[in-house]
Every structure is written in structure tokens, then in C-alpha cells.
Symmetry: C2
Subunit: 331 residues, 2 copies
């Protein structure tokens, strides 16, 4: 900036005024400064400005999602980015990988860089460590999973309702032996979805069978193995509710291998890529990651703009997409 000022023959403050489009600079001076800035390829340093600026904004956001390579997370990321770009806010994106240590490291990295706000998916047993930041007025929005030990804005899929709906859909097709395949019970969404499954069974008067409930499936191959076990039972399930994306894919693979995909009904939680092109096409409870990201970003910016209402929950509804696999009736 000093160089620009020297070249234009003005003081640094005047350059600052021109760059920030403040008033009280003559047209002539503006032209000279602009030309000098152009000539020197001057780019202001937002961090340095931020140091002295009154509002202390860095125009930067920290986003922590499951994994930037996961389609659900990627859609959330994209929605956040689209909201941020309009405000000239840049987004730091990190992957959680359901690793508590990564949560800690990422949040710390964000805070050291003085982001204006945080959008977080979490795995640690408690997020109380963010208390000081919240009190200082930093906007924090949790997405996909509810925080513990802290009250803050949270954007959630309606997991309970979606899982119940999936289960009711299968019950409605006449199924009574419906298996539940889910991932680790430590994860908020997994717990909720299992709860929805059990509740729907209860309301219909169907006693849950522990044999049909398999959890802690982290990867596709584990889901495949689980299906293999289920189909080998004396009284195998006639339908499967798969409570997560990758698990659904594992289930499809395993059912195919057994030649059972036209016989055993399947409803998955969270949409699967290419679902409508598979045969049978896959019935799912679709989430709306774009809405989740958009709402989270909107709330962050509302807070930055002064909204000081009490923390709020945003529940994003799911949508049942009937494509075929969920409408198979028991034999």
C-alpha cells in the first residue's frame, strides 16, 4: 500500500480510502490511485486490515463436514459456498472422518485463523469447549448432528420421522420381518434413525427381533457381510431398512449376489447416486443436504448481522422417493 501511495504521490490513508470506496476523495486522486494500484498489481491484505478494523471481520468461515469427498457433505459444502460467495466470504472446508482428534484440530485451526463463524459436524462427546467462543458472540451452527454440552443453532434432518416413515412404508407393503442395518450407535443420526425404526414397529404392534437389528456397520463390506448373515437365518427378513448411504450400497451388492434383489424389499436412508437407474430402482428416504447447507449459512449470516434470538433448531424434512425396491411385497 505504501508503494501505491508513493507512486500516486499521496498518503497511505488516501489509498486506503480509495480501495475501500470511502467518501471525500477527489475524482482526480481516485484516478491516480487506481492507476498506481493497477500498475503495481496491488492486492489489499484483508488480514492486515482486519487487525485494525473496528468489526474485526475476516470474511472467512470454517466448515467441518463428514468428508468433503462424501456426496452428502459435498452438497452441504456447495450450498454454504454459494451463500458465502455473495458476501465475499471464503470458506475453509475440513473433513471430520468421525475422528474426535480431527474435530479438535480443525476447530483449533479455524479459531487460530479468526474465522467469523463456524459450521460444524461433530463427533466428540461434548462441544462444551466452544463455550467461550459462543459467549464472545461467534456464530456457531451445528449441522447433521446435535451438539452436546452446549446450546446453539442446529440444522438437522428429521431422522426420527424419516426412519419411521421408511419402516411404515415397508409395514404398509405387508412386511413384518424388517431388518435394520445401521452404523455406530455413538453417532447422533444413527441413534435417531434406530429410534424411528423401533417406534414405527411398536406403533404397528410388531415386536422387534434383536436378530434383525445389526449396528456398527462402518463400511460397505461390513454391510454385505451383515446381509449374508441375515439371509442365512432360519426365518430371514423379507425387507431391509438400511439407515445410511454406504450401507445401502453394500446391501444392494449383497442382495444382487444372492439373486435376492427382486424378492427382498429395501428402503435406504439418504439418497444413493444413480438410484433410479438400478434395477430394481432404489426406494429411499431422501435428505436435503442443499437445504441444510443453505439454512446453516443463512443462520450464520443472520447472527453476524446482529440477530441475537435464542438458539434455534431447524428440522429439515425428508422425502420418500418410491422407485421400486421399497414396494416389493413379501412372498
Amino acid at each position: 500500500m505504501k508503494n501505491v501511495a508513493d507512486l500516486a504521490g499521496v498518503g497511505v490513508k488516501t489509498v486506503s480510502r480509495v480501495i475501500n470506496q470511502e467518501r471525500h476523495v477527489s475524482a482526480d486522486t481516485i484516478a491516480r490511485v487506481m492507476q498506481a494500484a493497477e500498475q503495481l498489481q496491488y492486492q489489499p491484505d484483508v488480514q492486515a486490515g482486519n487487525l485494525r478494523r473496528a468489526d474485526r471481520r475476516t470474511d472467512t468461515l470454517g466448515l467441518l463436514v463428514g468428508s468433503v469427498a462424501n456426496p452428502f457433505s459435498a452438497a452441504v459444502h456447495r450450498a454454504v459456498e454459494d451463500a458465502a460467495i455473495h458476501r465475499h466470504v471464503a470458506v475453509f472446508a475440513s473433513s471430520l472422518d468421525d475422528d474426535p482428534e480431527r474435530e479438535r484440530a480443525s476447530v483449533e485451526a479455524f479459531l487460530r485463523r479468526r474465522v467469523d463463524g463456524l459450521i460444524l459436524t461433530t463427533i466428540q462427546p461434548s462441544q462444551a469447549y466452544l463455550g467461550p467462543q459462543l459467549e464472545q458472540g461467534m456464530p456457531v451452527v451445528f449441522v447433521d448432528r446435535r451438539p452436546n454440552g452446549l446450546v446453539a443453532d442446529t440444522v438437522l434432518t428429521d431422522n426420527l420421522d424419516g426412519a419411521a416413515r421408511a419402516t411404515r412404508h415397508l409395514l404398509g407393503a405387508g412386511h413384518r420381518r424388517i431388518a435394520f442395518l445401521g452404523d455406530s450407535g455413538d453417532i447422533y443420526t444413527a441413534k435417531e434413525r434406530k429410534r424411528g425404526y423401533l417406534e414405527a414397529l411398536r406403533l404397528e404392534g410388531v415386536a422387534p427381533d434383536a436378530e434383525l437389528v445389526i449396528e456398527n456397520l462402518g463400511e460397505e463390506v461390513q454391510a454385505e457381510a451383515a446381509v449374508n448373515r441375515l439371509l442365512a437365518l432360519a426365518d430371514p427378513p423379507t425387507a431391509i431398512f438400511s439407515a445410511q448411504n454406504l450401507i445401502t450400497i453394500g446391501v444392494i451388492t449383497a442382495l444382487r449376489a444372492h439373486g435376492a434383489s427382486e424378492r427382498v424389499a429395501l428402503v435406504g436412508f439418504d439418497d444413493v447416486p444413480m438410484a433410479s437407474l438400478l434395477s430394481p430402482a432404489v426406494t429411499v428416504i431422501a435428505q436435503d443436504p442443499t437445504a441444510i447447507g443453505a439454512i446453516a449459512a443463512r443462520q450464520i449470516f443472520a447472527r453476524l448481522d446482529g440477530n441475537a434470538e435464542p438458539a434455534q433448531d431447524f428440522i429439515v424434512p425428508t422425502r420418500l422417493i418410491e422407485r421400486g425396491s421399497g414396494e416389493i411385497r413379501p412372498v
Copy 2:
């Protein structure tokens, strides 16, 4: 930092020394400072430090990809993140959307934030505007597309070879009427893939038919329409080479609708999600986005660590995955 110093009863410089683990601080003082920092939940401001620090590093990277929601881009992003996290480097990720204005805005946003390096996918006709940064020693690596008006490290899929291989594969199955479906000829990868297609035809002595070459397909529905047109020709193609991800999906949808998916052969460039679960399963030329991201990050860090060799091209090979659709023989 001032507060920590006061609380610990030492000077600010001593706090700085403790935080940065410099030598010449007594164990007793270290303990006092650490305790004060803990008590005040002190987080150093990396940007302020960077202002004065000799190396001027912000431990920050700018990454511009096609779209963070696209699986290919997401995999690149993930690979970059994994490399960065080990060096405590945070990544700004942005989406290009093949919009020149977005390229300009994103790069500017990165530069204003003084990132240590750039990993870019570009769309503008020239990247000469980055000349000054390159000269100042900022590492810039281009991924997926070659830059124009600038010599810099570049990581590319072997588009020419991959496209030629796809075409040869179809020729080898006996096809002579092979359609080419690609996106905008303005895009580097599209040009290269078309070149590979034409070259393979030429080497085999097959005259290209302009009727069978359709370009500028940006979205799935356009690809579907193109297939409809192709199948309505007097002498329709017996095979299709689809030069991009989304186009391949559109082709599959359209072939299905015509009941032609078991009759018309298909090879796609870039893998498609769930490809092996479709019927017929989709034969593709798979790219390796993880390798691309990893190589780009490695090169950025090598440059930051002082590597000053001339700019280099990294060509990442493709892999032909035969799954069925590409092995259909002409009737």
C-alpha cells in the same frame, strides 16, 4: 497475548517464545505462561503473526475445482486436504462452475488472503494475470486443465491416451460407427479427448463421420437429446464414446428409454458412481482424482520447501475398466 503476559507476569515476547517453542526460556517460566494461556483459552492469531514473521507464511492454500459437489473435484479436494493437514495448512476451496468471472473472483479472494499457494482448475482463455505471483515465487499448480499464457506446474489426466484407448476398445469389438459425445470445445479436457477419439479412428483407417460427433453438451438432458437424435439417424451408431461423467449418465438414461442399452456399446470417460451395479455395468476410462490431488499438493509443498526446478507436467494415467457395456459387439 498481552493478557497472558500480564497474568503470567512476563513480557509479551516471552509469551511469544513459549507459544512458538523457541529456546532460552526457563522451565519455570514456560509452565507459568502455559498455565496462563490455558486459563485464558488463548489462541494465537496466525494472521497477525504472519504479518511480522520473516517467511510470511499463512499456512493456507487456495483450491479451485470444477465444483466441490462434483465427485471428481471432491476427490481431488480430499487428497489435497489430507496432504495439507499434516503440515497444519488449511484449505480454502471454491467452485469454478466453468465461469470465467468466478475464476477471477476466487483467485482474487485467495490472493487477498495471502495464501501460500494455489491449486487451480481454470476456464479463462489466459492465466497470464498470475505472472506477477509466479515471479514472486508463489507456487501455483494447475490441475485437470492446462493453463494458457503461462508456464507452471500442471497435473493432467492423460486425456488423449485415455480417449484413444476407449475408441480403440470399441474398434476392437468390431464397431465402425462410433459416436463421440463431448462437452464444450472451449474446455481443455474436451478438446484433448476429442483429439484422442479422432486419432484412434484415423490410425484404424475409419473415416470420422461429422454426424456422429456431438459437442457442447453441458448437462445430462442435452446428452439424452443427443442420443435420441443419434438413434434416429438412417445409419445410427453401434457404439458411443461419452467423453464426460454427466454425459455418460445422460447416455445411459436415453439408451434405457430406447431399450437400446444391451445393443449399443458404451464407454465413458471418467468413472460413474455405482457403475458396476448397473446393467449392463458401465465400461469406463477411469481417472485417478486422488492421485491428481495428491501430486498437486506434493508439488506445492515441494515448491514451498525450496524446490526451484523448471515447471513440470505430471501426466496421470487412466485405467480401462471393462464392465460389460463396452464389450457389446455390433449386430
